[in-house]
Amino acid sequence: MKYMMLINQGSGPTPQSPDEWARLDAADQQQVVADYQAINATPGVTPGHGLQLPETATTVRVHDGRTSTTDGPFAGTEEALGGYFVFEADHLDAAIELAARVPAARLGGAVEIRPIMEW
């Protein structure tokens, strides 16, 4: 079973928002980085990417053949995707356990687990 692990930063601190990030002390900052590295090194994980802030997003729609482009993410800024990786595991409990190790989950964000469609 393959799961897409969608990371939502919520209002949590990331290095991209220096003021928020500075609320963590140096040890906590290092721990966050180490945790993401450990997740990427976990068997079954295909590392994905962290995304730049939702404010940098551009949303595109096509109506009647005309492309419309708007500023900002499809979801609200607060709900926008912050990063992702793929995890292959036997069952959902394994994915839940790994999701709980993602720093965003304990820092005010959340991880959404989506089974990947298989054909």
Binding site: M1, D90, H91, L92, D93, I96, I113, P115
Partner: protein, 392 residues
């Protein structure tokens, strides 16, 4: 419930569980379990006694294999078949004891926290209780189509997200048992407000869990709580009028239920249980067996409040303290509880104020409680209390 119905419900869960265990698909299991029972009506000769579980299991399994091979809807899931799936003759599979019991795995799947609680409840009643979708819909006062949709979504999610069919490993077990017990207790409480069959189903599930998890004190604790509450069923109503514990005719209490509850509670204590169900069972036992030892009940509520942090438990503690030390002490504990919208807070305050002769305040409290309930029996009880206040 007749013996036949009991046997049917027991067997339903067993057969359903074996099929899920083998093929990992709850939707398929539901369809072929249904078919196996229909086949039994058609093909099983009742003069040979009741249909054996083994016969049903083999029949259900054969139907599943058949579908996976032939039916286009299921063909995409043919990978669920394994090569050694031999189609046995169901007549060879007669011994119930030969059938592995996988209901425990099944209940952990049904009560997985990745499913919404209302779906957990519905699925548990369908998969383990053998209730039909229509029966479950009626119990929860929703249209049958809504309940069917809820069940379909839950079954699909189990497959799509690969919710495991297993007894959780030790590090997850306590938390997941908590989820299972919460579902069973919810089913019981739904039944307590009148839909008796749900309470009986919850007790049946509780007994099965106590058999399957004999070393878990909270499992025995929950079963004991349900048995003690259920023992007072006949005494809780006089006709259609609600009768409170203190006014109940104790000769109507079911001594069989109380004795069984007592045994379960003893078992939980021998296992050193002191979780929230064991504490609730101890409180219920004190009412049932010791004639309400209020001092001890107040202590138990103090422990329970520490464990749960629930303001409703604090309210119950205040009621027990009022009985033990007097109404003033109880009223003081009720001050500031965040239960302004909770009818039982106002009903309990009304009772204590009445005892203190503070009639006007008592009337206000009862009137407030009345605005917070639509239940006809509760409304009549509160109205009687109000009327009695103004009688000399």
């Amino acid at each position: 419930m007749t013996d036949d119905e009991l046997r049917y419900r027991e067997q339903w869960g067993r057969v359903f569980a074996v099929v899920v265990g083998r093929f990992g698909d709850v939707e398929l299991a539901e369809e072929v379990t249904q078919e196996a029972f229909e086949a039994a009506i058609e093909h099983w000769d009742p003069t040979r006694g009741p249909v054996p579980t083994g016969w049903l299991v083999v029949t259900a399994r054969n139907r599943a294999i058949d579908r996976l091979r032939r039916d286009r809807t299921w063909a995409a899931r043919a990978h669920l078949l394994v090569r050694d799936d031999v189609v046995e003759d169901p007549v060879d599979a007669m011994e119930d004891s030969d059938v592995v019991d996988e209901r425990l795995e099944l209940i952990f799947t049904c009560c997985h926290p990745a499913l919404a609680v209302d779906a957990q409840v519905a699925l548990t009643l369908r998969a383990l209780g053998g209730l039909s979708t229509r029966e479950i819909a009626r119990c929860f006062l929703v249209p049958e189509s809504t309940m069917a949709q809820r069940l379909v979504r839950a079954k699909r999610k189990i497959r799509a997200a690969a919710i495991p069919f297993r007894v959780p490993p030790p590090d997850l077990l306590a938390e997941r048992i908590g989820a299972v017990l919460a579902v069973v207790y919810l089913i019981f409480n739904e039944g307590y407000s009148g839909r008796d069959d749900l309470s009986q189903e919850a007790i049946r599930l509780g007994r099965a869990l106590a058999d399957l998890l004999p070393d878990e004190p909270e499992v025995h604790g929950l079963l004991a709580v349900m048995l003690f509450h259920d023992s007072r069923r006949a005494a809780r109503f006089d006709g259609t009028e609600l009768v409170l514990l203190a006014d109940q005719d104790r000769s109507l209490w079911d001594v069989g239920r109380i004795a069984e509850g007592r045994r379960e509670l003893d078992r939980a204590r021998r296992l050193h249980g002191n979780g929230s169900y064991v504490l609730q069972a101890s409180i219920a036992a004190s009412h049932a067996v010791d004639g309400s030892d209020w001092h001890r009940i107040a202590q138990l509520y103090t422990d329970l409040a520490l464990r749960t942090g629930s303001p409703v438990v604090e309210l119950n503690r205040a009621v027990a303290v009022a009985e033990d030390e007097g109404p003033e002490a109880g009223l003081a504990l009720m001050e500031g509880l965040p239960l302004e919208e909770y009818r039982y807070l106002h009903a309990a305050r009304g009772e204590l104020l009445r005892r203190l002769g503070r009639t006007d305040e008592a009337a206000d409290a009862y009137a407030r409680a009345l605005t917070l309930t639509d239940d006809p029996a509760e409304r009549r009880l509160l109205q009687r209390r109000l009327d009695e206040l103004h009688r000399p």
